[in-house]
Amino acid sequence: MTEKDKIRTLVLPGDLVGEVGEQQAWSPYIIRNGNKLYSTVIGLLEQRDNQLVILPLEGVYYPRPGDLVIGLIEDVELYGWTVDIVSPYKAYLQGSSLLGRPVNAGEDLRRYLNVGDYIMAKVDSFDRSSSPMLSVKGKGLGRISKGKVVDVSPVRTPRLIGRNRSMVETLSGETGCEVLVGQNGRVWMNCVKKESEELLVEMIYLIEREPYTKGLTEKVKSLIRERLGVNVASPEAQANT
């Protein structure tokens, strides 16, 4: 572990987590009653520069602007697509975001993205009163044309990414696959070898199952090495990272 260890404690709904501080940011996971603060979820409580933060251990994906998500095209409309992002809210992608120009009247958008396509996108805006809007402007965003996508619980994405991206880099470095973790719990991977893909999927589910095992990153690393029977990453992985 390169980062200094932080103390996290398990909290449950109704648990007293602290007193009202000067600059406690709003969070759905902490409520105020009088001058006391209580947890509203099953989560891990941690102190981050004078702020109490609760990382929920269960729950659905709640979109935030700027999040990288992997969406599934659900419907093709006249000027854009409705996209499932495994959230209580259906997202929308405007045609112009993909095409880089306005959609022509009568243009068949199915030619660009059809029902069942996966896209890599960023959440552009979301304010609870309207659906989340997606954007595919940017490097690496757009239609996913190769590789594989697996679904995990969205509350596990911080663990899949790891502190300073340590976990995701271990996963891709050790298996030689490209790996991208969407904040909504969808993980995209692109592997050269079938056996590394299978192993990668297995590791992702392992992390989902036991996210807070001590020394998980090391465990994952040694498991991959053991199974692939090599002690160095393959050449294509080095090229990718």
Binding site: L12, L57, P88
Partner: protein, 246 residues
């Protein structure tokens, strides 16, 4: 002359104990478990004596039909239902008036806890199935629902714990059994969010003097504290691996 009528049994025995051997302030054995269903977002099963209720929570998810969605909050949909084989005589599976009323009081109790404004335009579905009915089903259902909501990761002010207090042969008794439910003089289900000291469900069936009413609340509060502790232990044990984390 027909004498079909069953005579009321003695509910408090010579030694001051109840028909099932409990002291008046003693609850039945309790078992709780969370996360037992795969498909639901959250689930829990709670047993209190021979009463057993399973609850599944789906959501928050998109509301269908859409016009029923609310712009500023989630819509809670709650169904309390007894399986036909949960009772001595088979229960008709269609919703009875009793089940309709209980679904409503459970919904209102849960709404007091759930932070509904967090998920506008969505729905949270709570389905409670009474698998065994042996007194106290609405509170066991409510407790399992509250655990299932927590298990689904839905933000809530507190867990909800509840128990019935009644009167049997003039004595206040905690957590009625079926005989006391049937023959006792009062049955008062009460549920609270204990860490906030708020009552979320209260009904009374039977009669109390004002003094008995106040004593009954005191007695219930004691039971509720105990149940709340058990609920927390149940959740903690599921996540005990997470207690020591880096």
């Amino acid at each position: 002359m027909l004498t079909l009528q069953v005579q009321k049994p003695k509910l408090i025995l010579e030694d001051g104990r109840r028909t099932d051997g409990r002291r008046p302030d003693e609850m039945r054995p309790i078992k709780m478990e969370v996360g037992i269903l795969k498909n639901a977002n959250g689930s829990a099963i709670v047993e209190m004596g021979k009463t057993k209720v399973l609850t599944a929570v789906y959501g928050p998810r998109e509301m269908h039909p859409r016009h029923l969605a609310l712009p500023d909050r989630t819509v809670m949909r709650v169904r309390y239902h007894m399986t036909p084989f949960s009772t001595d005589d088979r229960k008709n599976p269609s919703l009875s008036r009793r089940e309709i009323e209980i679904s409503k009081v459970i919904r209102e109790a849960l709404e007091a806890a759930v932070l509904a404004e967090t998920f506008p335009r969505t729905t949270i579905d709570v389905f409670s199935e009474v698998l065994q009915a042996d007194a106290g089903t609405r509170l066991v259902a409510l407790m399992s629902a509250s655990l299932a909501v927590a298990d689904a990761g839905i933000p809530m002010r507190d867990l909800i714990a509840g128990v019935a207090v009644g009167k049997a042969d003039g004595t206040l008794v905690l957590d009625l059994n079926e005989e006391e439910d049937m023959w006792g003089e009062a049955d008062m289900p009460i549920a609270m969010m204990p860490s906030l000291s708020q009552v979320t469900l209260l009904q009374l069936n039977g009669n109390f003097t004002p003094e008995e009413f106040r004593a009954a609340i005191q007695l219930a509060s004691k039971g509720i504290e105990e149940l709340y502790k058990l609920q927390k232990e149940t959740l903690t044990s599921k996540y005990s691996a997470y207690k020591e984390v880096n």
